[in-house]
Subunit: 204 residues, 2 copies
DNA sequence: TAGAAATTCTAATCTGGTTTAGAATGAGGA
DNA sequence: TCCTCATTCTAAACCAGATTAGAATTTCTA
């Protein structure tokens, strides 16, 4: 293997591993778990299929890593963006920022995120454990945001914020199933999703 | 084959075919396309795997039929419910009814609907043609509803109803990924989804 | 209730894709 | 340069399921 103290992460070896992982994310995000052949991944990465086994123990191990990285990065990204929000911002403002960050990251920046979202419910159980832990953390991030917003009176008191949160995340996740950058503007999408939260959950 | 003029749809043969189809819908809704083995379907239906080939040409043909039936039934159900709405109802009222019908049908009444929703983006291209046609009709139903509501002034004029509609359908479709009847009340879910539309899209 | 047709089964085959074996290549250090 | 280790390749083994063959059974009709 590599990527240790003796071999810097930019070594040829580490780059190849990364290329394979990127390729897997790309194919997985496009074709889904069932449609992803190791041969396709290898072709995209520019190697022969057996080369994958030098870096990953099995097809499933490769898939699991993609899923985990995807879930992990989405969370990190949204956390970072939220951390940069100025002090005085309302919780509703923060939610707008989170919606923006989630959507843009998922659609523009990361095949990993897309792969993770699309396949979460389609991979064998054993592959879900580690990614699920990440998703739980991400879920909590949103829960905290909703709870704080409702306590601050920025969200209708009678709204079931747990259900609303799950519906919102679902709406945003499902975007990967229909989004086509050529026919729609990302700005418009973000604005509409934000309106769905601001008016759907916020005070009249 | 059977189910012709000479063999009524309640004949043993037709019943077996139905049992296999039901079993396929059940397994598909639970395990997804990749996880669905013909052997599992056969076991649930109470036959041996090869018996399936007496009724269906191939695994994919069986899957395709489940997907189509699922999409078809959701549309029929929502159409029926909408047709029963009294004359004077507002378009917003109709949308509330449609949300209710969609969610209850998908979660309570139909493994077919769940199978169709969950696997739409995961089956090979050829299997999507017929189901996609159904989905297009269903999509139009919602589009018409949104257009009418906005023209009637029941929806904010500045809202992008196409994007909002896709977000809403996504939110409702994704419910199959997290819904657990034991931990949540269906009524609460329906009410929250309705609120998301009424306040999220409706006039203040 | 015999015989034909329909249905379902067991056993075998086929297939595409993953995985393993082991040889070839290439890069880096003595 | 030569040797060693890392990396990648080609060829072959392996496997889990789908599918087919053909026999056995059940159902229906006359």
């Amino acid at each position: 293997m590599s990527d240790t103290a003796t071999t810097p992460p930019t070594s040829k070896s580490a780059q190849t591993r990364q290329r394979i992982l990127d390729a897997a994310a790309e194919v997985l995000s496009r074709k889904g778990y069932a449609g992803t052949r190791l041969g396709d991944v290898a072709a995209v990465a520019g190697v022969q299929a057996p080369a994958i086994y030098y870096y990953f123990g099995s097809r499933d191990e490769l898939v699991e890593e993609v899923m985990w990285v995807g879930a992990h990065r989405v969370r990190l990204h949204v956390e970072e963006v939220l951390a940069a929000v100025p002090e005085g911002a309302t919780y509703m403002d923060r939610m707008m920022v989170a919606v923006d960050a989630h959507l843009r990251f998922e659609l523009q920046l990361s095949d990993y995120a897309t792969a993770s979202i699309r396949n979460a419910g389609h991979v064998p159980e054993q592959l879900r454990v580690r990614p699920a832990a990440e998703e739980a953390l991400y879920s909590r991030l949103w829960r905290d945001l909703f709870v704080a917003a409702q306590q601050a009176g920025e969200i209708r008191a009678d709204l079931d914020i747990n259900v609303f949160r799950l519906l919102l995340l679902g709406a945003m996740n499902w975007v990967v199933e229909w989004w086509n950058p050529r026919t729609r503007s990302l700005d418009e999408l973000v604005a509409t999703a934000q309106a769905m939260v601001r008016h759907g959950a916020g005070q009249p």
